[in-house]
Subunit: 387 residues, 2 copies
Amino acid sequence: MDNFTFQNATKILFGKDQEQAVGQETSHYGKKVLLHYGGGSIKKSGLYDRIKNSLAEAKLEVVELGGVKPNPLVSLVREGVDLCKEHNVDVILAVGGGSVIDSAKAIAAGAYYEGDVWDFFTGKTTATQTLPIGVVLTIPAAGSETSSGTVVTNEDGQYKRSFGHDSLRPKFAILNPELTYTLPAYQTACGITDMSAHIFERYFTNTKKVDLTDRLCEATLRTIVSQGKKVLEHPEDYDARAEILWAGTIAHNDSLGVGREGDWGSHDIEHEVSGIYDIAHGAGLAIIFPAWMKYVYEHDVARFAQFANRVWDVEIDTRDLKATAEEGIARVEAFFASIGMPTRLSHVDIDETHFEEMAAKATERGPLGSFVKLHKEDVLAIYKLAK
Amino acid sequence: MDNFTFQNATKILFGKDQEQAVGQETSHYGKKVLLHYGGGSIKKSGLYDRIKNSLAEAKLEVVELGGVKPNPLVSLVREGVDLCKEHNVDVILAVGGGSVIDSAKAIAAGAYYEGDVWDFFTGKTTATQTLPIGVVLTIPAAGSETSSGTVVTNEDGQYKRSFGHDSLRPKFAILNPELTYTLPAYQTACGITDMSAHIFERYFTNTKKVDLTDRLCEATLRTIVSQGKKVLEHPEDYDARAEILWAGTIAHNDSLGVGREGDWGSHDIEHEVSGIYDIAHGAGLAIIFPAWMKYVYEHDVARFAQFANRVWDVEIDTRDLKATAEEGIARVEAFFASIGMPTRLSHVDIDETHFEEMAAKATERGPLGSFVKLHKEDVLAIYKLAK
């Protein structure tokens, strides 16, 4: 196990009706709120009104910025930063999924910065002072509700880049499983894929002797697989929605990754795909991860065989661990397919046209990943495996 | 799954040499420190000197109070409270195991209270303002390093009582596996039992549909069982010590118990034993828990059969879940015996003399537990099963 520092102070309010506390929780951080959200779904569902009422009851002044799209854009972030500066906003309340929260984090970082907010994503600057963020989560997927990171797309050059800072971890996150009932099946499945991927990124490591975190990862994955099927069959099964919602947070609150090196190559490889093509991040991961696994598993067959056995109930063939490992990867792909995800680029009509360009952009700041270091040719090979 | 609120903001510094940061971490909370510890072991090992040096480098003024014993006494807590008031202490640094940390928490609560600190434990008052606490952990067991609770014994009447308040959660905890190398085998095994028991208390619940937390509990228990044997065979196996140290924190940082009702009856039943007899809390739990399980398992045979299968690899006899459950309980008892724990009261020379008195005291504030509510006669029956 490697040395580590761990602190995740986000206050979680989980369960039925918890969004009623949003005004009170937000009021701990100031008087003026930027209410940040996506499209019309929170208005249709009535959540928007309930939140506005709660904020009004807590006597908070509200500035609004809706319109966040999946793969949130830096242009809207810049609008948010301007609003915060203009209105002296004290706290940002993000209502939505990972895209809204990531957009809010970028705004929070930009609010006290004189230059362009994209500078955080290019590494030109880092955060010092940021605005506090609260969250009402409606999509279990990204884990952004307790994480310190944000991913934003710059439409000028179609760059999708990430940035992380401890101060960007939300102060509180309200998680009500009922708010996820109306999430369409496809988006639900994208979320299930995304949270699985967050665990894969931590699980496939070169750090030796990490038994507890291995087992915690496996436990969470088993829950995602079994409950994921349930929520798709019964979208209003409260308990299954609750399991998936909490699993999405656990998958990315850093507790599964302490003391071990993460990989994150697949995320970078996927970001180039959803940076150029209009596909959901989760769908992109369902395509890229099986290909990545096929490309790298021989680097540590024992780990992949353990994964196959403990997560996917593949019987270990002690004379052929490679076959055991391969069967595990096949089950990952079959699981994603079973929940309605594409598992090949061709399924979403992406051909080889941009493979070279994407592989070059993905690796322009150096090789990706850590389990196996991936150079441009490796990334290209993975795109080809994912065809 | 039940509604819940979860927040655990303790900063963990885990790994080799992390105690070098103790001065810097402590200095965030003030200038004057109460250094609180147990006996001579930290002086023998050199840890005491390293800590004093680090505190001196951070220009902190140190008031000292050593002498904490296992099952910490309210008399020493009162001394600590007086010292804090007399010297205007800003922060308490606990160096040791659960007893030292629990003693520090009681002092932290008493420091701003005009009355007697025992009032917190009788429920006469609750905490409002408390002193911040930092921890350097030397015994993986109690999980007190990130928990909000404290257990203290009042030698006047031999009452062992607990008290909890969110403000008592340590601000930081330094966990270096090397500091646990010199822990004797018996104490190591007591710690392994204690952390197992913390998971049992959460695992055996009447809350239905708690798949993820079930699996996280099982994952942590499997690690404790496999790595527990290793640390006893190889006390200086860094990785095994690291697994056990981190498992002790995970077992009690509340993440395994969210959204489900805990039991805690066995802890209360044990407290009466170690309140009267001079035995370690862990040893008492190794005796009480198998007896408790035998007494209550028919209340939910399916849960005990799942436990037997997933934690102890007992094959499920689908025609006889009761036999599966019973075999699981037998393996719990065998595991505790295999690590050198007593599993019957007779093993530690405790006879029936005080059974009546202990059962009466344990239940004087009402029935114990929640999985099965235990009245005086039930507690008495469990002591008899544990004979």
